[in-house]
């Protein structure tokens, strides 16, 4: 048994199955916690009928999704209608493959490293993640198109424009890490944040971290960027016509996407499975127990981000579409370009991991942005400048 596990291929296969089951479970309970947290923030009780504290609610939800009637309206594009939830869910479930869950492992304790606790470790792991993230758009745009429903169609083109717009600042914010580390392999990016003279990248480039966090909210269609399903304007958004399990798959896909995205930002900026100074979490710790400990630490960081996602959802209102495009093209894109240029300059000068240089530059860029915004303050009203004044009749005022 152990001999099979020492083969990276079979280790990966078994890890894949375990991770897929764990992620499905976490996704199901994400929905429960989303409801519990929203209830907590709004001073309600939340789900409390199914089992103790409502803990069996996800099981009941799953059964209901499965048994509900699945309506396929008459004028939808039927093949695409079925394909869209398949893509939305399937794509969200393959992103975790390249995340480094627990470093390298020595399974039998003979001092020789046997396998990497990672499903796949290609040299272009980061490009793979970016590509898979982009594929997520297809679920939305195919779903909205196949619906043949005006609201769903508007939601689909809106959210396509949104995801495209935010992918560029995301790519440039990640570029800051890539140029600092000089590697696209995710395990190397984690190792570059550990050891003498190395710190988590969030300490070097906090500004890039914030930009990546913002774009992550937009890429996963979470509030304040959930224009794809703006109920007041677009009925249910791109999944208006979906019911039963097909709707459920869009729903589960969104949460799986959040998990992958949280793992991604953790690996890039928050040291992955590493905690400074904690024994068992250093690159030299290769036992099975160290691997499990590392997985738990990475999982805890991901759960922290999931909580942040939910916290923001129940705190902030939704953007309007013009504000959304303005933030991306006129705000995040120029800033991330400047950050990328600055990080490249630091590497050229040999100061890539020099904390005062990196932090000073980040502070200077933040200052420039604030001054620029202060000087060129434009009131965002959503009203075109060239429209005539609105005159309110005297009788309407009283």
């Amino acid at each position: 048994m152990l001999d099979i596990l020492k083969d990276q291929f079979w280790f990966s296969a078994i890890l894949t199955v375990i991770l897929a089951v764990v992620i499905l479970g976490v996704v199901a309970y994400c929905i429960y916690f989303e409801r519990k947290i929203s209830a907590w923030m709004q001073d309600r009780v939340g789900p409390n009928r199914v089992g103790p504290l409502g803990l069996f609610q996800p099981l009941a939800d799953g059964g209901k999704f499965l048994l509900k009637e699945d309506i396929i309206p008459a004028n939808v594009d039927k093949p695409l209608f079925v394909l869209a939830p398949f893509i939305a869910f399937g794509v969200a479930m393959i992103g975790f493959a390249v995340l480094p869950w627990g470093g390298v492992v020595d399974l039998d304790g003979d001092g020789v490293v046997d396998v990497t606790a990672q499903v796949a470790d290609p040299g272009i792991g980061l490009l793979y993640l970016l590509g898979i993230g982009s594929l997520g758009i297809y679920g939305v745009v195919l779903g909205g198109w196949a619906n043949n429903n005006k609201y769903a169609f508007f939601a689909a083109i809106r959210s396509t424009a949104q995801m495209l717009s935010y992918e560029i600042p995301m790519g440039l914010a990640i570029f800051v890490v890539v140029i600092t580390v000089g590697n696209l392999r995710l395990e190397e990016i984690v190792l570059a944040q550990i050891g003498e003279g190395n710190v988590w990248h969030v300490v070097l480039h906090p500004f890039a971290f914030v930009i990546l966090l913002i774009t992550l909210f937009a890429e996963t269609n979470r509030t304040p960027f959930d224009l794809a399903e703006a109920e007041q304007e677009l009925v249910g958004g791109y999944h208006t016509e979906y019911s039963a399990l097909k709707f459920g798959m869009f729903f589960l896909g969104e949460y799986a996407h959040m998990i992958t995205g949280s793992g991604f930002i953790t690996v890039l900026f928050l040291g992955g499975w590493h905690l400074p100074g904690v024994p068992g979490l250093q690159p030299g710790d290769v036992s099975i127990w160290a691997m499990l400990f590392k997985m738990i630490v990475l999982g805890a960081k991901i759960v922290g981000f999931l909580f942040l996602f939910m916290w923001v959802r129940w705190t902030l209102p939704r953007f309007r579409f013009d504000q959304l495009m303005r933030l991306s093209w006129k705000g995040l894109l120029p800033i991330s370009m400047i950050l990328a240029a600055y990080a490249t300059t630091l590497v050229y000068l040999g100061k890539a991991t020099n904390i005062p240089w990196a932090l000073g530059g980040n502070a200077a860029i933040l200052l420039i942005v604030l001054i620029y915004n202060g000087l060129l303050r434009t009131e965002i009203t959503g009203r075109q400048a060239n429209l005539p004044e609105v005159t309110i009749p005297a009788e309407a005022r009283s």
């Binding site: 008459a74 499903v119 790519g171």
Partner: protein, 140 residues
């Protein structure tokens, strides 16, 4: 395992992941199809647009600005895809201080690599400034 020895080994694992995800998604759809009720009805099968009688379908013209966003995305995403593979090469050249041999067999120093990407970036920034000036990013 022969495949485990080759440099393609990570991709074999990715194929497994894709297969597992596909099987889970497909089995969900098939299982739901097997157990759910399927009743037909004229009203039930009509498009839901807030209860109004549906006028026409959704295959109609929409705002041209969405096309412009798609075109701009193409431009800038090419930049990102260009930058990412360039970054490790540049990092290596800058860190070691030695010239990198390019695919054409020419030696390229870190300064040369920086200048090459700089030319590309300048064109992009000029284009970006032009788009901004022309109001391509003006949505309100």
């Amino acid at each position: 395992m022969l495949i485990a020895e080759s440099s393609l080994a990570p991709y074999a694992s990715i194929v497994i992941v894709i297969a597992v995800a596909g099987v889970i998604a497909a089995s969900m759809l098939i299982l739901a199809h097997a157990v759910r009720p399927a009743l037909k009805g004229d009203v039930k099968d009509s498009t839901y647009e807030s209860g109004m009688p549906v006028i026409g379908d959704a295959r109609r013209r929409f705002n041209v600005r969405f096309y412009i966003v798609a075109m701009l995305f193409l431009l800038f995403d090419v930049e990102v895809v260009f930058l990412w593979p360039w970054a490790p090469v540049f990092h290596k050249a800058a860190a070691t201080g030695e010239a990198i041999t390019t695919a054409g067999g020419q030696p390229a120093s870190a300064g040369f690599l920086l200048a090459a990407m700089g030319v590309f970036a300048v064109f992009l920034v000029v284009g970006f400034a032009y788009e901004w000036r022309r109001g391509m990013f003006q949505w309100d």
